[in-house]
Symmetry: none
Subunit: 279 residues, 2 copies
DNA sequence: GGAGCGCTGTACCGTATGTTACGTATTTTA
DNA sequence: TAAAATACGTAACATACGGTACAGCGCTCC
C-alpha cells in the first residue's frame, strides 16, 4: 500500500503539481486559489483566468487522471455536495466527550433538522397550513410501513381542531374504497420515505387523478409521489444507525400542526373553544 | 418598502413557488431538495431528475427572472462561492423576518432535545436497550391519546429485528385481556405525557403488580406511572405552540431503536440477516 | 356544454463548448 | 552549438447543450 490516500481533488493537485510543466502549474495554482469555483466554469473562462490557453487546461485535467473536462467537473461537484451535506459543524464538533453512542446520533439528528428547515421557508409552511386549515374539504392522512405513525400523530391532533380528518389505516384495499370520497377540495397527506412503497405511489396517483391536493412528506431523494404532489416536504433522514430517521419529518409535522391551529384560532373557529377546555 | 429582501435563489423560489404551474413547481422542489447541486448540472440532467422536459426547466429559470440558463447557474455559483468563503456566517435561515413562526418553534425543539439528552446518560440508554434486546421475554408498547403513534413507531421497528413485540391498540378492555400474557420477564413500554391518562396509569399499575418491567416515556413533570416504572425517560415538551411537543421523546425512541439494533447485531441474532436484505 | 386560455412536451435549430491536429517556440542534451 | 524533445498556442472541428417554434392537451370560465 505505497499509494497515498487521496480524498479530494485539491490533495490530488498538491500531490502532482511538482511534476507539471509551467502552464499547467499556473492552471493548478489558479484553481487552488479560488477552489473549487473556477473548475465549475467553462474551459474558456478557466483558461483566461489562469492566463493560459484552453488546451493547457485540458491537458491539466488529463494529467490529474480524468478522461475529459466534464468528468473533472462532476468530481468537483460531488466533492462540493458531500461538503455541503455536513454543515461544517461536523468538523468543528467536540469529539463527544463521553465517547458514547448517543452523541453522534443526537448530533446527526439535530443537523438533519437544521438542514431540513434550511430548505423550508416560512411561506411554504404557511401555504400548506392554509390548505390544511381550509375547511371546505376533507383531510386524509396515510403513511408507509414505518412512517404511518407520523400520519397517525398528525391526524390525532388535526382531528381535535377540525372535523373531517381521516387517517387511512389497514389494508390497501381499505384505502382504495375511500378514493370515491375524495375530490378536488380535499387534501391527502402522505408520508413516504425510502424504500418507497409501490402501494402508496399507486394510491397517490389515483388520488391525484381525482384532483386531490397531495402534501408529501418524504426524504431528500424524493419519493416518486413528488410527481403528483402539490406540496413536497423533503426531510433529512441520514443518521449513524441501521435505520433512517424520521425525526426531522416529525418536527415539521408538529410545526405544521401548530401553524394550522394558529390559523384556525385566528379564523375564530368554534371548535377551538372545546380544545381550550381540554388543556 | 413593499419589496421583500431576497438574498438567495432559494428564498426567491420559496417566494414564487406558489405562483408556479405544476411542472415548474416540480422543478423548484427537486432543486430545493438537493440545493443547489442539481442547478449546476445541465438542463437535461435537471429535467430528468425533476421528471419534466427541458423547456419546463428553462421556463422555470425564466420565471425566476434570469435571462438564460447560464446566467442562472452563475448566480448559483456566486452564492455558493460566498457561502464557502464565510463558513462561520451560516446565516442561511436568516432571522426569519416578519412574523417568523417557524424559527422559534424549531429553536425550542432543538433546545428540548439537547436538554432531554443532557439529563439522560449513555448508561441509562444502554441499560434500557439491553433490557429490550434481552429476548427471554416479550415486549409490549402502548401510548396515550397523542403519544400512541410513538409507541407504534417504536413497535414497527423493534418487531422487525426481534419476535414477540406487540403494540397494544384499540379499546382499554382489549389491553386488559393481554395482562394475563405478561410476566416478570416481559417489558412494557409506555408513552404518557400531560394530561396523563387514568386508563394508562391503572394499566401500568396492574402490569407492575404482575412483575412486568416498565419503561416510561413521559414529560419533565413525570406521569404518575413513574411510580411503577423501572426506567423513566423524561423529555422536554414545551414549545411555543398550542400543543406540547413529543419530538424529544421521538428522538430518544429512535436512539433506543438504534441501540437495540446494534446490540442484537453484536449478539449475532439470526433475524438481523433478514433485515439487511430489507435495506 | 362550449370557447378560450395556459401549460406542457416534441422536434428542431443555432451555437457555444470541449476537443483535436498541427505548427511554432522553448528548453534540454549531446 | 546543433539537434531533439517537450511544451504551448492557434485554428479548425464535432458534439452536445441551451434555446425556440409549434402542436396537443387539460383546465377554467363563461
Amino acid at each position: 500500500m505505497g499509494e497515498k490516500m487521496i480524498s479530494s481533488i485539491a490533495e490530488l493537485i498538491a500531490d502532482r503539481i511538482g511534476t507539471m510543466p509551467a502552464g499547467e502549474r499556473r492552471a493548478a495554482q489558479t484553481l487552488i486559489a479560488s477552489y473549487p469555483m473556477i473548475g465549475l466554469k467553462t474551459v474558456a473562462e478557466f483558461s483566461t483566468a489562469a492566463g493560459v490557453s484552453s488546451p493547457t487546461i485540458l491537458r491539466f485535467v488529463a494529467r490529474l487522471g480524468f478522461q475529459n473536462y466534464p468528468e473533472f467537473q462532476s468530481s468537483l461537484q460531488d466533492e462540493l455536495a458531500a461538503q455541503l451535506q455536513s454543515p461544517a459543524i461536523r468538523t468543528l464538533n467536540p469529539p463527544s466527550p463521553g465517547g458514547g453512542t448517543v452523541s453522534p446520533m443526537l448530533e446527526a439528528t439535530l443537523d438533519n433538522m437544521r438542514e431540513t428547515f434550511r430548505h423550508l421557508s416560512d411561506k411554504q409552511l404557511a401555504d400548506i397550513a392554509a390548505r390544511l386549515a381550509d375547511r371546505r374539504g376533507k383531510t386524509f392522512l396515510i403513511g408507509g410501513r414505518f412512517t404511518d405513525p407520523l400520519a397517525r400523530y398528525m391526524a390525532a391532533h388535526l382531528a381535535v381542531i377540525q372535523p373531517d380528518v381521516f387517517h387511512l389505516a389497514g389494508q390497501e384495499s381499505m384505502w382504495r374504497d375511500r378514493l370515491i370520497d375524495m375530490g378536488k377540495r380535499d387534501v391527502l397527506v402522505i408520508f413516504d420515505i425510502r424504500r418507497y412503497q409501490d402501494s402508496l405511489v399507486r394510491f397517490a396517483e389515483k388520488a391525484h387523478q381525482r384532483g386531490v391536493q397531495i402534501v408529501l412528506f418524504t426524504d431528500q431523494w424524493l419519493s416518486p409521489i413528488a410527481r403528483f404532489a402539490r406540496h413536497v416536504i423533503a426531510g433529512r433522514t441520514a443518521v449513524p444507525s441501521a435505520w433512517d430517521s424520521s425525526a426531522a419529518l416529525f418536527v415539521v409535522a408538529e410545526t405544521l400542526i401548530g401553524a394550522v391551529t394558529r390559523q384556525l384560532e385566528a379564523g375564530g373557529a368554534r371548535r377551538i373553544r372545546e380544545m381550550e377546555g381540554l388543556r
